[in-house]
Symmetry: C2
């Protein structure tokens, strides 16, 4: 590990948790370095447009991060976009694409909200949660062989082809997800919807499975 | 400037330009450091989920960048989303939100493609171009006082309230943009559409100006 780089990246993380901005002193305290060190790191991040000063001279994240993040999983995102759009419209629910992150976590890579729905779930892409929680993680676990002690929802998802969870990632919100079939080994991506109402989950499951198949075919 | 942090951030930039992945040797060569240094930096980036190894063991950008980028201009993006959606649907054209980056550049912060249009322009957010080119930049320049030697398009945009350019950012593509009015000083954000056809630009300009006003009011 490079300690200097680590500190610089910690600054980005701290800033992402404080969208209202921080002073150099705040930054130094939070990452545990001297103010002059923090100042030099911030200057370097600024030179890369990864942070900037706002009108109150507070340090906030810079738009250069949008450029850096854009190519991440670009092929997957480009192919998934119309599938998620269709899924959100067909179900009038928020559609999401989650990817496995390491062995323990799932990360929301894309979130598409339905147009015109009176009420829908809204959440930010980028968030991670345990693969043991939420329909997306369970859908991927169901793709593996049965394990003793696995959650009954995983066993059920293996039989049905989609996973259903209630209130595990977002309180009171029901998730319905299916693993996106992969021809390159184990599935690492799930597609699903978030809804408030437990009615019609079977039909929803069928629609989600169809969307997962369609995306799997697009990915080849 | 911190040289180590600078090198680490350069790696992210190099990786963003090579979505198919690079080896450690490639990375070392491109940023001009020894292989062992590159290896240590890559390990640090990996620990922050900012890069990962793909199935061929090549280094690619990691999904942690999506998390970092998500809060960038979050308020602006959240407020702009429905305005861009409406603009894209009303015009059946690709709508975009650009922000000023430093003194010289504009950066595409959001791009919303119209649904159901047979043909539309598609481009990736995150890209930057000179403020002297493209309708978004000219719309912002038109917000300032007249300058001798300014482009005639800027003068015209000042009179009309919106700027029109042809093929300056994307070949053959026409841009129509207006500055988003700001109550906190100089405008730094433009909203606009990209179209192929030069017909009906006046009507388009009016629609874009309305969208800019609506977003300006939302921003308060």
């Amino acid at each position: 590990m490079s300690k200097t780089l680590h500190h610089g990246l910690l600054i980005l993380r701290v800033l992402s948790e404080h969208p209202q901005g921080l002073t150099v002193t705040d930054v130094a305290e939070r990452i545990g370095v001297h103010r002059t060190v923090a100042h030099r790191l911030v200057r370097t991040l600024e030179a890369h447009q990864l942070c900037r000063r706002d009108q109150q001279r507070r340090i906030v994240l810079g738009t250069g991060l949008v450029t850096l993040a854009e190519p991440v999983e670009q092929d997957l995102r480009a192919l998934a976009r119309p599938v998620l759009d269709e899924l959100a419209e067909a179900t009038r629910a928020t559609a999401h694409l989650l990817v496995r992150e390491g062995t323990q976590d799932m990360r929301a890579l894309m979130v598409v909200e339905p147009r015109g729905a009176l009420v829908h779930v809204s959440f930010r892409p980028g968030q991670t949660h345990s693969i043991q929680q939420g329909s997306g993680g369970l859908a991927l676990l169901a793709g593996g062989p049965p394990r003793s002690g696995e959650r009954p929802e995983v066993t059920e998802a293996r039989a049905k082809g989609y996973a259903v969870t209630m209130g595990e990632v977002i309180p009171a919100v029901i998730g319905v997800s299916a693993a996106v079939p992969s021809h390159r080994g184990e599935a690492t991506t799930s597609i699903g919807v978030s809804v408030f109402e437990p009615a019609g989950l079977d039909a929803l499951g069928g629609t989600v499975v169809e969307a997962a198949k369609r995306l799997g075919n697009l990915l080849g």
